[in-house]
Amino acid sequence: MKNTIKIALSLALVCSLSYASEQFAMSDADREMYAEMLEDNPADIMVANGGELLEEFCGGEAGLAAFFKISEDELPAYIAGFPRYLEEFKQVVGLDQALQGLMHKNGHKPFALKSSDMFDMGSYAKSLANGVKLQIDIDANKHMKEAYALGKLTFEQKRGSRGLSCLSCHSPQVIGGILRTQPLPDIGSNGNASAATWPAYRMTKSSLRTLQRRFQGCMNNALLAVIPLGSPEMVGLEVYFTQEAKGSEIAIPGLKR
């Protein structure tokens, strides 16, 4: 299963390569490294560390399932429905925030959202749903509707000293276009299915990053003021991206340039 996804990913990459030909920023050496890493994702070890952290601070999969009041069998499908509205949180939360709640319940100080421990543990938790299709329900209740609307607004709002929005570079119109040697990715289900492939190992940063952390990267590059992880706007963006990739099979950790 995992291998099919990996092959699909590398095929997508090869397609964009032939499209971009000499303009593409990956050298032959980079491409070789990418092929190697597909076999052996450097983030596997971080995700494994996340598994140990989940055991220690959240009571492992059993603890997680109990916290969500579901059976362990139901856990993968439930995880594939994040971000979701949780009554006990009184808001739409990402999986990482839900883990903060569980850590608190177990008497631990929650890991900071931006800590590598949280990245590891959150990635492991999401990987429990590997092979399951993203199944967010943005019409589940008014909170989800609002979160989606806020995410869409945040995606489309032009801001920063270049007056750009996420949409400027991620609209269907510009997918496959070249921006400073980078092909503009399709974030939806027919391309990178970003929400299904993050958290991912980012080769250019040599680290495991989450989707929200990746958003911050684009904000930083395009000179949009960087907003903090876990803010309603960030969760909203994650809801938006998850809806765009809905139906794609989760494959964590992903591997990105």
Binding site: F89, R162, G177, L179, P232, E233
Partner: protein, 172 residues
């Protein structure tokens, strides 16, 4: 007595209706975003003596066109571009989206600006004022443009926009 009742009430409340809303991180971003929003599309009139054939001015325009910021650009800055110590000056990064003469890794999100003078200026399709406006605030003739806004955002001064414009329409 009263106190114990209250405490036991509190304890039972937290047992039966857990509330995690205050233990998780949920920072506020709305203020950051509000202050960062783009202003209204603005019409500009090109300043007097804006367009120039002065070599140094065109070199500055070219430099801004081809580079992202002073931290990434080469150490040889053209005459007249000064960077304060410890500061990063943002440039236009126009090549990210546009190809043009001698572009390195030019993008194709925006139209190819190679041979712009012959194709667009000499043919009369465009004039100086149009190009100045396009670079200053491209929304004027295309509300949903994907292009950057360079003057309304105060990323550049009118003089800098003049120099970039002069470069784009120059013979290269």
């Amino acid at each position: 007595m009263k106190k114990t009742v209250m405490i036991s009430l509190l304890v039972s409340a937290s047992l039966f209706a857990a509330d995690y809303s205050s233990v998780i991180e949920k920072p506020n971003a709305s203020k950051i975003i509000k202050e960062d929003l783009l202003g209204k599309a603005t019409v500009y009139t090109m300043p007097k003596d804006c367009i120039t054939t002065d070599k140094d001015a065109i070199a500055r325009g070219a430099y801004i066109f081809h580079n992202l910021n002073s931290a990434q650009a080469g150490s040889t800055t053209p005459k007249g571009i000064v960077i304060k110590k410890g500061e990063t000056k943002q440039y236009g990064n126009c090549v990210a989206c546009h190809n043009i003469e001698k572009a390195q890794g030019g993008g194709n999100v925006g139209p190819d600006l190679t041979g712009y003078k012959a194709m667009f200026m000499d043919s009369g399709v465009r004039d100086n004022q149009f190009v100045f406006q396009k670079i200053a605030d491209p929304r004027i003739d295309n509300e949903n443009t994907n292009m950057t806004v360079n003057l309304t955002t105060k990323l550049f001064t009118p003089k800098e926009i003049c120099e970039i414009t002069s470069y784009v329409i120059s013979t290269k």
